[in-house]
Amino acid sequence: MAKQPIAVIGGGLGGLWATLRIVEDGFPVNLFSLFPVKRSHSCCAQGGINAVLDIKGQDDSVWQHIVDTIKGGDYLADQPPIKSLCEGAPGLIRTFDRMGVTFSRTPEGIMDQRLFGGVKNRRTCFAGATTGQQLLYAVDEQVRAHEAKGMVTKYEFWDFLSLVLDDEGDCRGLTAMDLNSMEVRAFPAGAVVLATGGLALTYGRSTMSSNSTGAPASQVYQQGAKFANGEFIQFHPTGIPGHDKNRLMSEACRGEGGRIWVPKKAGDTRDPLEIPEKERFYFLEEWYPAYGNTVPRDVASREVCRVVRHMGLGIGGKDLVYLDLTHLPRDFLETRLGGILEMYRTFVGEDPCERPMAIFPATHYSMGGLWVDFEKDERTGAMASVSPKNHATSIPGLYACGECDFAYHGANRLGANSLLSASFSGRVAGDAAVAYVKNFAKGGQELSESDYESERKRQDGINRTIIASDGNENTFALHHETGDLMRELVFVERSNDGLDRSLDELAKLKERSRNISLDDKGSWANQSLAWARQVQDMIVLAEVIAKCARQRDECRGSHYKAEFELKIPEGKFEGDPEYDEYKAQWKTNNDKWLKHTIVTHSEDGPQIEYKPVDTSILAPEKPRDYR
């Protein structure tokens, strides 16, 4: 009997890695994507991918990568998967190299490595300034090789709508919509791997691609999958504000020596080039002498907001600070950062080698996502190398990998760890889905035709309702409003008052999103219809994010509430009584808050509970200290 296909939703790094693993194990894959998979958002990652190769004589070690990742995430990620991630990284890089990725090379022809934020060693492999694009293309090509053999069937320009669940709540397939014919179809599947990326479009403008809505994750959450750590959203410190999106300047700018500053005098209107060195405030270098401009992203974002919103030192009184490369030689910059400099010139129309760039934090990455399990290998303390539990969501038969899951990054992601986690988790989820199908009692059997048909009809009905809806709301405007709200009240700095307000407003937006009227009611390539569904799903996720944030009364990683901040006493270190008292407070706070936020959908909104974090590898004994 022919093997039942496994469905992979999303064709970025995670989805394509999962696809490769599944077909290598002999199972056919139905691969669904909103667009040709080669155009997935993974292509936007510029900087690089972390793996300990230790080629720079710095005694770098996998252990140090593990420690950096755990501490970078403020201890909020389960540690066995992190151990597997870091241990698996060099092998993953070797495979990428074999696939022909155009990694930048040293003079002797081996892969080069560079420095990235939150890390003291040169551990980041890169391919010019388009590492994500290069890695994505490599797996895209490998998947095409399997497509040629008939093992992969692509459904490009198809939108995932829902899971098909059986009476016991097990995932048995999915429904999806052809974005041209708008036909809704049900697809049986032995298992479903969701690799649908981030949700930053819930913030309106972000650094993400215009399809990174998080709608599929929202959809399965509404069908019962648990969501976790929604409050942890990374704001990239160096975004370039724009009408359509906030483009980002890679962290590599800081890694290669870029300096962040503001004029010392508030409201200084002089051209930046005319402001002498001594009248510039290099606040990161001053406040964090050890790391300087390469402090982790959350610290950088917060300090930029502090300098701008509390000290009033933003350029020309606006939400902007300088990111300056002009002291570095042009040749060096072109070699190391060529692609991203080209991007700045293209979209801003100025040369960053000549003039400092104006930047501000932008919504960038969701550490939170669908809750996924793992099986711990007691012998190694890491995640078991293959297990149907790995990357399994709370719905049996549904797997999640890449940015749409919550693993690895805890409360904050380190730079160049996302390409790594996307690829690695795709590999693990692909293996897990196969293990599940092989061991699953119902494996290979489809539900009856009518079970698929009833879910198909339900989804088709939602389309009809939206098309027929004759309300007074515009779905695109609603998205705008949701984004503005999130960027105002659920941003870098949060307060309980503000979050309460955001929840009230989101409830209204949710109501209004059901009272829309589409300007396109047609049945061919109707982008408004697909968008209207996604907006409804985004508002549900926005509510999850705001509710999680409201409940967590502490500061951890990217989640910051000033009223609960534990400040490191200035100038005090281990052994000073003030520092020891701070450390004791920090431990007490961990006892209370070092736990995953787990969210379950209900008709009354998100229901929240907490779950302990597996800290079996590195117990939180010492606070993060980047001074």
Binding site: W17, L20, F35, P36, K38, R39, S40, H41, C43, C44, G91, L92, R94, T95, D97, R98, M99, G100, T102, F103, S104, R105, T106, P107, G109, I110, A127, G128, Q133, Q134, Y137, A138, E141, Q142, R144, A145, E147, A148, N180, S209, S210, G242, H243, D244, K245, R247, M343, T346, F347, G349, R427, N474, F476, A477, D519, G522, W524, A525, Q527, S528
Partner: protein, 249 residues
């Protein structure tokens, strides 16, 4: 400075529908590009005559000129719409879909042929599975690496095909984009294991001999990929392959 942004868009309701022009005007703001303008217009879908119309359909994703989705013809030139800044364009700004591909709707076209071509030329490096074999790829000099990197940035946007006189709906020419990928993969130490297969595809009708040497592709490529030097190189490679096929059996 202009007080408004004036756009003329070539529209078509579906593959078999008749095309027509529609004009739109919106308030001027600095920093707009063609996609941000389309985003504004879908939120305010009213044409210049003040009539409410169906929002314009187009394709876009990354908005950073790396995904290749939003290629269209802007003021007569095929390019990525996200990177076409309003302040640098003459108004009215004229937007048209690429003409070498079947229209889906309005500015969206079906570029599946580009991906089919990559499949036909085996544009991948053969590997024996994704498992770690505890070895890297063979060494690659920084110089060769730099050249390969130029080609590996091809995002399948289709601009080179749009301007190629030989690439037509009624002809078989595979087009410059796929040829660039053959150059890329043939030059890789292990990717070259398929070199012969790839060259044989290029020696068939629709292959490299169909290139008319117009050199438009290299001029239009948004990533400055040296497509014509790839084609030159492949011309030599196919000649050698032809001789080898003749004498080495």
């Amino acid at each position: 400075m202009a007080k408004e942004i004036h756009v003329r868009i070539k529209r078509q309701a579906g593959p078999d529908a008749k095309s027509y022009w529609e004009e739109f005007k919106m308030p001027y703001e600095s920093g707009h590009n063609c996609v941000s303008v389309l985003m504004y217009l879908r939120e305010h879908p009213v044409n210049a005559k003040g009539e409410k119309v169906e929002p314009v359909v187009w394709e876009s994703n990354c908005m950073e000129e790396v995904c290749g989705a939003c290629a269209m013809i802007v003021n007569g030139t095929p390019r990525q719409a996200c990177a076409a800044l309003i302040d640098e364009l003459q108004q009215p700004i004229v937007l048209e879909p690429l003409t070498k591909f079947p229209i889906v709707r309005d500015l969206q076209v079906d570029r599946q042929a580009m991906f089919d071509a990559l499949l036909a030329v085996k544009a991948w490096v053969p590997i024996d599975g994704t498992q770690d074999i505890h070895r890297h790829a063979p060494l690659i000099s920084p110089k060769e690496q730099d050249i390969r990197y130029l080609f590996s940035r091809c995002m399948s946007c289709g601009c080179c095909l749009e301007v190629c006189p030989q690439y037509r709906k009624d002809a078989r020419f595979i087009g410059p984009a796929a040829l660039g990928q053959v150059r890329l993969h043939n030059s890789h130490p292990t990717g070259g294991f398929f070199k012969e297969d790839r060259l044989h595809v290029l020696m068939e009708p629709g292959g490299i001999a169909d290139c008319g040497n117009a050199q438009n592709c290299v001029k239009i490529c948004p990533k400055d990929i040296p497509l014509t030097s790839a084609i030159g190189e492949l011309g030599r490679q196919t000649t050698i392959q032809w001789l080898r096929d003749l004498f080495v059996k």
